[in-house]
């Protein structure tokens, strides 16, 4: 079996003698390799001879190692899965009761995955074989002078979330790393909490203080929320109201939610 693989691999090796380690993408992954072996040996996918397939699979990995090719972790995971299945099949079945074949078959899960994967390999080929716009079909590139349009307020904007993120990533790349502090260490950051509170307040007149802890009432969350509210007060973006001692605390936006409006200069703190 190794012959044609060896051929392919040695070809790759010949090309890239300079950098000894090459990436082997003959196979997309372990499932792809298994399908190749099944097809090559003309095996019945519903009844895979697990010891044959395991042997050939491991031979392939050994070969890759010998050639000093990088082996993706997934290939090794599959190797141990195969060995697991093989040993499961060798174990004598203690229960004598007749069981439905595939349910009890240690190979069932693997077979299901292979069949599923095969469908999507087909689908990928189908997509590639379609008449692609920009390759097989072309549209006109219109350069006709278009009438000048002044941008109206309710113009339709077309934006993709990914564009937004990509733009921000672009900014971050240009910038020295130390400008940003990662918030991963903190479970809850104050700035995140500020943003959250502002979101909740959007379009609302008030917010009960305890609503902020509906999801998690952790010490970190409490402290972060408290500091966030203080910060928001300092920024004059919210007002905090309490009708009496130990009564419910309400947080309200300092102004109504009208775009571009300025904040009132008054903020009250009764806590």
């Amino acid at each position: 079996m190794a012959s044609d693989l060896e051929m392919k691999i040695s070809n790759i090796n010949a090309i890239s003698e300079t950098d000894y380690k090459v990436r082997l993408d003959l196979f997309e992954g372990p499932l792809d390799l298994l399908l190749h072996l099944i097809k090559k040996n003309e095996l019945d996918i519903y009844d895979i001879p697990i010891s044959t397939i395991t042997r050939q699979y491991l031979e392939y990995i050994t070969l890759m190692k010998e050639l000093n090719l990088e082996i993706a972790g997934e290939f090794l995971v599959m190797a141990s899965t195969l060995l697991q299945i093989k040993s499961d099949m060798l174990l004598p079945s203690f229960s004598e009761e007749v069981s439905s074949d595939l349910d009890e078959d240690p190979r069932a899960e693997l077979i299901r995955r292979l069949l599923e994967y095969m469908k999507f390999k087909d689908a990928a080929i189908m997509l590639d074989n379609r008449d692609l716009a920009g390759r097989d079909l072309f549209t006109c590139k219109l350069v006709e002078p278009q009438p000048e349009i002044s941008s109206s307020e309710d113009e339709c904007l077309e934006m993709e979330l990914f564009d937004l993120i990509a733009a921000f990533q672009g900014v971050l790349k240009k910038h020295p790393v130390d400008t940003f502090h990662e918030v991963t260490a903190e479970a809850v950051s104050i700035s995140e909490r500020i943003t959250e509170i502002l979101t909740i307040l959007q379009g609302r007149n008030s917010l009960r203080f305890d609503e902020l802890f509906r999801n998690s009432f952790s010490r970190e969350n409490l402290i972060a929320s408290f500091l966030a509210i203080l910060e928001l007060c300092k920024l004059k973006m919210v007002r905090i109201l309490q009708t009496g001692q130990f009564a419910e605390i309400f947080i309200t936006p300092a102004v109504a939610d009208t775009d571009g409006a300025f904040l009132s200069e008054v903020s009250t703190l009764y806590v």
């Binding site: 499932l31 993706a72 997934e74 995955r113 999507f120 189908m126 692609l132 716009a133 079909l137 072309f138």
Partner: protein, 204 residues
């Protein structure tokens, strides 16, 4: 050519992406929908009946003029191919996303059996897939789906017109995998325009 038909023709010609029937109705709101529909049907017939270089394609939930495949070789002498070839992993992940959307990265990786982060990034960069939101399960993973551009590039009328996975197996086995069948025009067009429904409901 009737006046209305020529207006519809112009609109489709000028639009920079496939124009949906709903959008045409919006723009030409002073015209009767039925008239618009029949103009569009006539236009489809005009363009697609004889062997012309340009045909009116029903793609991405709309209508767009496109050149026929037979002349692709000559066109490529004039303009550069704008669609870059996708790698096998990219096509595989795209196919999985198309058929199983909305889908998370973990689900794609389970189906493919390999890490797919880099591939998803490529597909996002090429705007063939998009982030749909976050799944409401622990960890709130991002969920992905195919974009309108995917339909445009892969010449699909809508997601429903993707061949079912089972169909594909049969096609492949029958050896007619690469040929796309020509639909009988009369039938296909009229069936798609039930009298009381706008045929294509664009999401514009």
């Amino acid at each position: 050519m009737s006046n209305l038909k020529s207006i519809v023709e112009c609109l489709i010609f000028v639009a920079d992406s496939p124009l949906s029937f709903a959008r045409i109705c919006d723009i030409l709101s002073e015209y009767d929908k039925e008239h618009l529909r029949s103009s569009l049907i006539e236009l489809l017939r005009d363009y697609n009946s004889d062997e012309r270089g340009i045909f009116l394609s029903e793609v991405a939930e709309g209508y767009q003029f496109r050149t026929c495949k037979a002349n692709a070789e000559f066109i490529r002498r004039l303009v550069k191919t704008t669609t870059s070839k996708l790698s096998k992993p990219a096509l595989e992940s795209l196919a999985i996303t198309a058929y199983r959307q909305p889908i998370t990265r973990a689900e794609i990786e389970y189906l493919r059996g390999v890490d797919s982060g880099g591939v998803l990034r490529t597909l996002l960069d090429k705007k063939l897939i998009k982030i749909l939101g976050k799944k409401n399960v622990p960890g709130k993973p991002l969920i992905y789906g195919t974009s309108r551009r995917f339909l445009e590039i892969f010449n699909l009328r809508d997601l429903e017109s993707l061949p079912t996975l089972k169909e594909m197996r049969e096609l492949e086995e029958a050896g007619i995998f690469e040929q796309q069948q020509e639909l009988p025009l009369e039938d296909s067009i009229e069936n798609r325009f039930p009298p009381d429904l706008p045929a294509v409901t664009g999401k514009d």
